[in-house]
Symmetry: C2
Subunit: 145 residues, 2 copies
């Protein structure tokens, strides 16, 4: 049973992500990936595409396509960086801000409800998860990228 952590994590998160996706599509007509991208621009200040890729944990080509569709949908403003260089300055449009604000809290609450229902201590699980992420990040960086 303890042999299956990687499988269980994979399947659990796959299901959580798909449930999140269904809810967001049904109630707000947006995918979970797009919501995450907007959230990281709006609340964590991902201000260039490279930074956003880093925060999302995806590659730059993925972000390049994502920012293009979000801009086309009128949720994200993408401008050449006035400071120069081959950069894009990212910011939410008013509609993007409205969307992120209306979803974020409601959405985390739903996950908290599932965690509560399971009897798993939220704070501890969250702390363990954060620690694993930090450690894994460090190991990958040390392995030399």
């Amino acid at each position: 049973m303890e042999q299956n952590l990687s499988l269980n994590l994979h399947v659990l998160i796959a299901r959580l992500d798909r449930a999140a996706d269904r809810i967001l599509r049904a109630e707000h007509d947006i995918s979970y990936s797009r919501f995450l991208a907007l959230t990281l621009v709006g609340e964590l200040g991902a201000s260039t595409q490279r930074t956003l890729a880093e925060y999302l944990g995806v590659t730059e080509p993925s972000v390049s396509r994502m920012t293009a569709v979000l801009a086309a949908d009128g949720l994200l403003d993408v401008q050449p960086d006035p400071a120069g260089g081959n950069r894009r300055r990212l910011s939410l449009t008013d509609e993007g801000k409205r969307l992120v604000a209306s979803i974020r809290q409601e959405f985390e609450d739903r996950l908290a409800a599932v965690v509560a229902e399971s009897g798993v201590p939220y704070a501890e699980y969250a702390e363990h998860t954060a620690r694993l992420l930090t450690t894994f990040d460090r190991l990958e960086r040390e392995a030399g990228k």
Copy 2:
């Protein structure tokens, strides 16, 4: 900070999956998705495509395409069920068995090493994860699919 569990889980697992994928491609020339599918057929006895879809937590069309490529690669044997009905009986070929056997243990050990490095208690985290998965499954079923 506790607000970010869903994001941290999403990012952590995305990175773990991609790392697993890189390792498997480099060392065994197979993707992580394909390895998971073979593992569930070989070790958990997923004997029809519908069952495999259930175990993997993906849809039947995804499994349909996956079994086709695995069969084409000579790793999976897909036969009409001799008991009748519109079913496929799934089983590993000898090469599939060899591959799964050679990867599985080595692979779980790598994750265990990351967990140990982080200081997170493996057994507890694994137990919490399994409990969340069970609970989430039940809630989804109750919500009426």
